[in-house]
């Protein structure tokens, strides 16, 4: 490592700042192995060294608007959630808001993977629209991992690493586990009720309006 210690102005080129430069130059998360491979053979730090440097780097950003996070495919710097309000104003395309149908389909694939269309249809009780599957494939959140050996050889869908990355997850295990089967009682069903607010219905409760505006910014 000593070879790579060079000075600039007040600063020092060391493994920590090299990792910083790498993480900010990449347009994807970088794994420890990715980071190692950017060093010359003769000066390649051990995994442990990389991890220690990442830890120190992470601490440097404690008070800043950025944070070093680890997702499925590696490490990346990202803007903290607290700042999304301002950053959203920069965006040309507003982030898409996904329909309940799409989110339910995704949830079934997440928790039941590998899942066929049949599985999804059985649970949701309605046929799956091709557009939803297409959007999920396009988004890179799901992929075909094989075909079920039954008539028609339906595709088996599973989630991708991209899905984990986009949802800021390291592994599928870090997802909240599927809720226990509950005796279904009285909890309010805010989604449906919000949608129904505008419907002039006799006998339909109006959802209590929360002052929270929707999070689609």
């Amino acid at each position: 490592m000593s070879k790579s210690h060079r000075e600039f102005r007040g600063g020092l080129v060391d493994s920590k700042t090299i990792l910083e430069a790498l993480l900010f130059s990449a347009d994807r998360p970088l794994s420890v192995a990715n980071l190692q491979s950017c060093f010359a053979d003769s000066a390649r730090p051990e995994k442990g060294e990389i991890r220690a440097a990442l830890k120190a780097l992470s601490a440097d950003y404690e008070d800043r608007s950025l944070e070093l996070t680890e997702v499925a495919s590696g490490f990346r710097f990202q803007v903290r959630q607290e700042y999304s309000l301002w950053v959203a104003k920069l965006l040309e395309d507003k982030p898409p808001r996904y329909s309940r149908a799409l989110l339910e389909t995704l949830a079934i694939i997440v928790y039941r993977q590998p899942a066929t269309r049949g599985t999804i249809e059985e649970i949701r009780g309605v046929s799956v629209s091709s557009t939803i599957i297409r959007t999920l494939l396009d988004r890179g959140w799901i992929k075909v991992v094989g075909h079920k050996e039954v008539p028609g050889r339906p595709a088996l869908f599973a989630t991708t690493r991209q899905f984990l990355d986009d949802f800021n997850l390291r592994t599928l295990d870090s997802l909240p586990s599927l809720s226990e089967i509950q005796a279904m009682g009285f909890e309010s069903d805010s989604d449906t009720e919000q949608a129904l607010e505008r419907v002039p219905l006799q006998g339909l409760e109006l959802a209590e309006e929360s002052e929270e505006t929707n999070d689609n910014i």
């Binding site: 347009d27 990202q78 989110l103 949830a107 046929s127 986009d166 949802f167 009285f186 002039p200 219905l201």
Partner: protein, 271 residues
């Protein structure tokens, strides 16, 4: 019956809490014992549901029923009422809703039948399977909400990057094999055929290519002499291709063919 405009809706949260619903402009402050939905509102009502399971869950929850003890008769009545209304207002009725109505009716009829003695343990309560499905669906409904609530990249968090201008690197551009491209297109075609509301016509590519060339040259000059669009060296087939391309462009409204005076030369220009 008028569909009520938004302006009739309560202006404030406090007001909203008192008012249960607005029907025909009048605020309803007490909850009717049954759930009746005026036909005008039915369409919007149903569009907010993801299917029969979702609707059924809503009906059950709305009446604060214990799902483990569904009063099949009343739920079936209510459900079937909606199906009938949908038919009355000629709403396109998804098959799934009808299947659910049939399931409910079947459960109801089985519950009405007297059970022979001694078989009680062997024969399942006909509601069990439906309850299982509803519970299973509800779990995923919750999971879908939870997923949407996770901080999402490019919505809640944004990846941070810095520019690299001073650093000179040849970033290799992604390579695509022709076969990949053809495979992609074949899959598009397969899907398009399944959906089948658009016909992908089978024109030879040479016509499409010529269309692009013509638009290209018009883009520079604005107007071109009709005869210049034909190249003698290309022979008869070339002329046919050029002619088909011109016709196709005309048909798609992309170019105009103009003649400034009778018997004068034809000109082609961007429409």
């Amino acid at each position: 019956m008028d569909v009520i405009g938004e302006s009739h809706f309560p202006a404030s949260v406090e007001e909203a809490e008192k008012v249960v619903a607005i029907v025909r402009g009048a605020a309803v402050t007490a909850l009717p014992s049954d759930l009746y939905i005026p036909p005008d509102a039915l369409k919007i009502f149903l569009e907010t549901f993801e299917g029969p399971l979702d609707l059924l869950l809503y009906l059950i929850k709305h009446q604060n029923l214990d799902i483990l003890d569904i009063p099949v008769a009343s739920i079936t009545h209510q459900y079937v009422d909606y199906i009938e209304m949908m038919q009355e207002i000629r709403m396109e009725l998804a098959a799934e809703y009808l299947v659910m109505a049939a399931i409910l009716a079947e459960i109801k009829s089985r519950m009405l039948l007297p059970r022979p003695r001694g078989t009680e343990n062997e024969e399942e309560d006909p509601r069990v399977d439906l309850i299982r499905r509803l519970q299973e669906y509800e779990r995923f409904k919750t999971a879908a909400n939870d997923l949407d609530g996770l901080p999402r990249e490019a919505r809640d968090t944004f990846s941070a990057s810095a520019a690299l201008d001073d650093i000179e690197v040849e970033v290799p551009k992604p390579m695509v094999e022709l076969e990949q491209l053809l495979l992609a297109f074949q899959q598009v075609l397969e899907r398009a055929e399944q959906v089948a509301h658009h016909q992908i016509s089978r024109e030879p590519l040479s016509v499409r290519e010529r269309m692009t060339m013509i638009l290209d040259s018009l883009g520079q000059g604005g107007e071109i002499c009709f005869s210049d669009l034909f190249v003698a060296e290309e022979g008869r087939s070339g002329a046919v291709v050029a002619f088909l391309a011109i016709l196709e462009l005309c048909k798609e409204g992309l170019i105009d063919i103009v003649q400034s005076a009778p018997l004068s030369g034809l000109h082609v220009k961007i429409a």
